[in-house]
């Protein structure tokens, strides 16, 4: 079942932040310099001990706030990756960065260490909205960061959040317009998802900010895509667009039934039909690696059905959809024979298209992706 020729993606988690955002549910904690130093050592150690020389072609520093790493720390970690894996010469190396941490010197340092791509957490280009989200940067600082990164010769991706508290469709359009004017190579935009106990929920209640109805969310989503289409970006996933040739190769592995290894606290890995995750707590992670133990919290072998289901529902996130012949070869299953009846109403309703051996969501269908994906679990 393993697709050996497909190179691995390597994910390195950096759990530190200078402040905690009120909507964020990722595994992160406040910046702590001594702990960070110990953590970087542990992370490099985990990469080295996990390494088996397998080919890899992407590295992704995610967080948290990976831009809190110094250039030499990035260098140490990438060196560990090269030592332990057969990292391709043209590998894509992404570092997530908060705009306020970006300046020309830092950028130069990261790039010299091997970073090729910066993913900036812009989120909005309206100061009011940034303040509501508790972000530390202003719209002007975000614009400056994009400009600096582009000038440094980096591939720049910008994250934007849509359907923010108290955001109107016009506000949303204003942020998008301002962002596209800056010309990043790649844009990810996410409709806000409030997890159950997010502090932002409380703040919204206190301040009387309300979310626009979901009809507006749908409109914001579609309008955003119209703008990126017009500006020459290609949508390739539900929430991602890129200029030609600038798709995020690392993230594509998640949707193309690929294999990836995650390092650091709370990181997830999937390879050869197995899925596992590391312990979430930073101190415990450092301790376990220090004692030579694999820092794994849970490991499971996926059943054939789970692998197939995951491949189908994640594959449907791609604009290109699922290659049915490839699924048949990999899993020995004829998707349409098995799910055709359940999918018929989505096909008839214009949410789903079967074309040239591929099953894909239409743009309208993407907004209702969960309804369709439920078929596969």
């Amino acid at each position: 079942m393993e697709h050996r020729d497909v190179p691995l993606g390597l994910y390195l988690h950096v759990p530190f932040c200078t402040s905690i955002c009120n909507y964020c549910n990722f595994n992160r904690g406040l910046m702590d310099a001594p702990l960070k130093a110990a953590y970087v050592r542990a992370l490099a150690g985990e990469v080295r001990s996990a390494g088996d020389g397998a080919p890899a072609d992407t590295v992704y520093f995610g967080g948290g706030t990976p831009s809190l790493l110094e250039a030499d720390e990035v260098a140490v970690l990438l060196a560990a990756c090269r030592e332990a894996f057969d990292l391709a010469p043209g590998a894509e190396v992404t570092l997530e960065a908060n705009p306020e941490t970006v300046d020309a010197a830092a950028l130069r340092g990261w790039m010299d260490a091997g970073v090729t791509r910066i993913s900036l957490g812009v989120q909005s280009l309206l100061d009011e909205e940034l303040a509501r989200l508790g972000r530390r940067h202003s719209a002007a600082r975000a614009k400056e960061a994009v400009g600096l990164a582009r000038a440094a010769g980096c591939d720049v991706s910008a994250d934007l959040m849509l359907w923010l508290p108290a955001q109107s469709r016009a506000d949303c359009a204003a942020s998008i317009g301002a962002l596209l004017d800056l010309g990043p190579a790649h844009v990810s935009f996410y409709l806000l998802e409030l997890y159950p106990n997010a502090p932002l929920r409380e703040e919204m209640a206190r301040a009387g900010w309300s979310l626009a109805p979901d009809d507006d969310a749908a409109a914001m989503y579609l309008e955003t895509l119209e703008r990126t289409d017009a500006a020459g970006y290609e949508q390739y996933e539900i929430s991602n667009v890129a200029r030609p040739g600038k798709r995020c190769r690392h993230n594509l592995k998640y949707w193309q039934d690929g294999a990836w290894l995650g390092f650091g606290c709370g990181a997830h890995s999937t390879r050869a039909g197995c899925r596992w995750r590391n312990v979430a707590e930073t101190g415990r992670y450092v301790d376990m690696v220090g004692r030579g133990l694999p820092p794994v919290a849970e490991r499971r072998r996926l059943t054939h059905e789970e692998q197939l289901g995951d491949a189908l529902f994640t594959g449907l996130r791609l604009v290109d959809g699922i290659d049915l012949e490839q699924v048949r070869q990999r899993y020995g299953v004829d998707v349409m024979a098995r799910h055709g009846a359940a999918l018929a109403r989505f096909l008839e309703g214009g949410w789903l298209v079967l074309q040239a051996g591929r099953l894909r969501l239409t743009r309208r269908g993407m907004l209702l992706a969960n309804e369709v994906m439920g078929t596969f679990v």
């Binding site: 996410y190 009809d215 990181a267 995951d310 529902f313 993407m366 309804e371 439920g374 596969f376």
Partner: protein, 602 residues
Amino acid sequence: MDHHRIRNFSVIAHIDHGKSTLADRFLELTGALRPREMEAQVLDSMDLERERGITIKAHAVRLSYTADDGQSYVLNLIDTPGHVDFSYEVARSLAACEGALLLVDASQGVEAQTVANAYLAVDHDLEIIPVINKIDLPGAQPEETAQEVEELVGLDPALSIRASAKDGTGVREVLEAVVARVPPPRGAPEAPLKALIFDSWYDAYRGVVVLIRVVDGAIRPGMRVRLMAQGQECEIEQVGVFSPKPVDTDTLGVGEVGFVIAGIKRVQDARIGDTLTEAARPTAAALPGFRELKPMVFAGLYPVEGHRYPELRDALDKLRLNDAAFVFEPETSGALGFGFRCGFLGLLHMEIVQERLEREFDMDLVTTAPGVLYRVTTTDGEVAEIDNPAKLPPPGSIERVEEPVIDAVILAPADCVGAILKLCQEKRGVQKNLEYHGSHRVVITYELPFNEVVLDFYDRLKTVSRGYASLDYHVSKYWESPLVRLDLLVNAEPVDALSVIVHRDMAYMRGRALAARMRKLIPRQMFEVAIQAAVGTRIIARETVRPLRKNVLAKCYGGDITRKRKLLEKQKEGKRRMKRVGQVEIPQEAFLAVLRLGNEPG
């Protein structure tokens, strides 16, 4: 046993007026149970009974009491169910007694059912002893309550006993009054056996346990007996009394109350009200008052998960073992799949069955709106009883429809009269009587269509009277009415389980309310959903559920996949629990919407 030392009595009381507590005091005072054996309120043995404060099945307890005159007596306390649905059982229990305690909460006053049951006791020539209970409560008004008992039931306040079952005050006086005032049973010891069956239940180890009161003759193990209404014969295996634990005896003679076990397999074969006699030497005439129990309220019961249908059938079979009044037969609904049409004595009976299915058998149920038994005459002269709106013939072939009508007695504070009369008029009632008792109590008598009562009358009555009005009723007749079937359609497909039979004049209002309610209950789907209410081919209301616009996870990266899969699975499970009509997914709660319409403000 000398029957002159026997006193058979029951307690007539409203829910919560303290019957079970009083019974506990009797047990303590007579030494039937030592304190450590007392589980509070022994008489209500089912959990459900204890929780709801309702006695569902009658029981009989034999107490040995040494009275102030120095003599010892056998007191048989025969418990009666306290709800209108079980009035037939109450009547049979009273028929087994010579006296009754009329127990009234001094802080609450007399309730309609208490009055109705007191009249029943008067009809059976029972000696009635009023007991004004809960005099220890700060809000107690014993004088006024005794006065009310006189006004409503015609009992001399001087004869009433003040008591607090809680702290024991007056309990001995009550037992003394039973001995002194309740007449001993009369009967002929040498005559052929004649015994009244006033309760029966199924016991997994012993088969059907039958409670009897011996009127004439005697019954003993080995005797071959006949159940007169059924014509069935069987041999008595065991005879005994509850004190309150079961104790075998050699015989039960004139006036005695106890149980017999006779290898009877189904409670349906030992009908309440039937007469037991010796097969070889039968009595000339059965005791009067036997009636076949006929279910009056019907509803569809469906498993939430279709594959649990066989489990539901088994559970219903088991419940029926112990409930002669409960009937069911399989039915199929386009919307709900395979289920059962069930018949109940009334709404409380229905709730009890539902709750037992959910609690004891762990069934998740969808229950359709309850309805009554209509009598339909078709144009070709056939008469049919309709227990399901879906079975109503097409309007063109109906000659006439008759609906059951109840005689309702409402007891209420005088200041609510206006609101109650308005409610009764709205419910198509016909006023029969209105009587003031004293300055602040009123007895209102109405004829009301039973289906209106089943729908929401009781809740509304409680609302307009701030909880003070009480209701007693029995089905008295059928009358002809212009009744129509109101259908609900989603995207033009009728949802059979949501159809109801309503009066023509109310169809429009109810149709609009139902459609509006459904709009709130049906979640947005991938396409627009049209909800329509219709009578025949005429659409009388329409609502629209706008299509769902967004159901997507914004992010799904490597670490999210497991969590997102769970979310998708959960969503799928939620959909699986919905019922599908055409393409439209309808949640379970929607099927109760018809029921709750009346609780909507305005």
